[in-house]
Symmetry: C2
Subunit: 304 residues, 2 copies
Amino acid sequence: MTAQIIDGKAVAAAVRNDVKEEVTKLRAQGFVPGLATVLVGARPDSVSYVTSKRQACAELGIESYHNELPENISQDELLALINKLSADSKVHGILVQLPLPKHINEELILGAVDINKDVDGFHPINVGKLGMKGREPLFAPCTPAGVIELLDRIGAKISGSRAVVLGRSNIVGLPASLLLLGRDATVTICHSRTKDIAAVCREADIIVAAIGKPKFVTAEMVKPGAYVIDVGVNGIPVLNPDGTPAISEKTGKPKQKLVGDVDFDAVKEVAAAITPVPGGVGPMTIAMLMKNTLRGAKHAFGLL
Amino acid sequence: MTAQIIDGKAVAAAVRNDVKEEVTKLRAQGFVPGLATVLVGARPDSVSYVTSKRQACAELGIESYHNELPENISQDELLALINKLSADSKVHGILVQLPLPKHINEELILGAVDINKDVDGFHPINVGKLGMKGREPLFAPCTPAGVIELLDRIGAKISGSRAVVLGRSNIVGLPASLLLLGRDATVTICHSRTKDIAAVCREADIIVAAIGKPKFVTAEMVKPGAYVIDVGVNGIPVLNPDGTPAISEKTGKPKQKLVGDVDFDAVKEVAAAITPVPGGVGPMTIAMLMKNTLRGAKHAFGLL
């Protein structure tokens, strides 16, 4: 059996379309959702991420308020900006692009974001509420929320399933585990200290791989019929037919390609459904950020 | 093999003794740790818990400031008291005895406790930090912290072990899972929707049972050599030799006895170590509350 290939681009487009429709209605009533983006320094990857997020805002009718700060900005100055944005009624979401420069205390900065504008869902209070019974954070972190959205859209039954999450990062592994738990899965969280991770994975109806190791999850680790969601994004060298690294004619550097944490070609012969890399979870992150920003705006407008 | 019976009373006494020694030293330097207790209404169990906590304070040299409020106190009045205690520099821990009356929003009240005085560790920000990498809450919830303390004192190896937590309550199951994860266990969280919970338990090197079902964990569910920590406290009827319920001569009511979530007599023949009920985890809760109060005081005094 070959697995269903989950088309993250299509699901993300559908989510973005839903957001766009709601934003259009809000704007017709005079409500304008707004996202503040904060970029410190000029890391090429960070610049690229922020640009994509702002483009998404523009497409969906969300105002974006961009704040570009020099690499050497002081912590106090950055904090003052976050406080200003937290108080700004036009702003319904604050996105601080990570990582921040080393001289800035990330915990302090993220902790200063108004929890009602914490569209990344990284504030500890939102993480705590994610796990607690009877508490509901306003925002779930974007990538894990995208994982759940993908599972829902393909009709995966989460309640009562055994879910194994590989990785316990603040950004993916931990919140994905808490979201799955909140949806009544029996969740096992694996990490670098886990013994016989293959045996643990084989018990899973749902595997969420966010461990940052190329092709780590092999076909032997997957129960036939499992759902496999690959959050990994790893660059590996492209090889020539003779096994030597391929060199880009344009840059003169070794060519790279992106692969996930899952051995896609092999696992797709075992799983019921699987996300590709790229084009699986990746596109969901920005889509869920837009959804969170809309949610923040509706909350601010008293429409939630 | 018969399991080591973990003497929670002895461990709790040792923890209390450590706290007492530190408090004595602090007082000699003019620093007086203080715990505010807040009791709303007069539920007999709540009265009894608060009394025990205040007695422990008295024994260890911690000042306790008791606040007894009528059942019908308004939410605003209670909130005002919490705010007052949060601002009071003599108070280093605030204990709001749960449950609160139904007309009061528990989330709102607990959320108002200064996180630097949240000795119960129930504030979502402390729960979030418990799970997050690189974050450290000032306080871990008392009962789960007691579970870890017991495992540590008997020399159980937590890192790399497979831990199964039965139950996902805010007070025990969830924070116990996060603490075990933080100690590098591979953690599985089970609950009422878990399928084949027996098979899941059999994988565990450490079982933490906090599911509220008398004698739920049977010998067949326990891997030989596992550590079994029983957080359950369930009242069951005492039976006469002929199987009829025994009646108390004093009260005329059916006699009850306390049992845990684990079938102690059977499981002790399989496990490496096991906590009894009563006398296992129970005494740890107040001991850890005292430890947390000391910690809050040291933090306030700048001694942490």
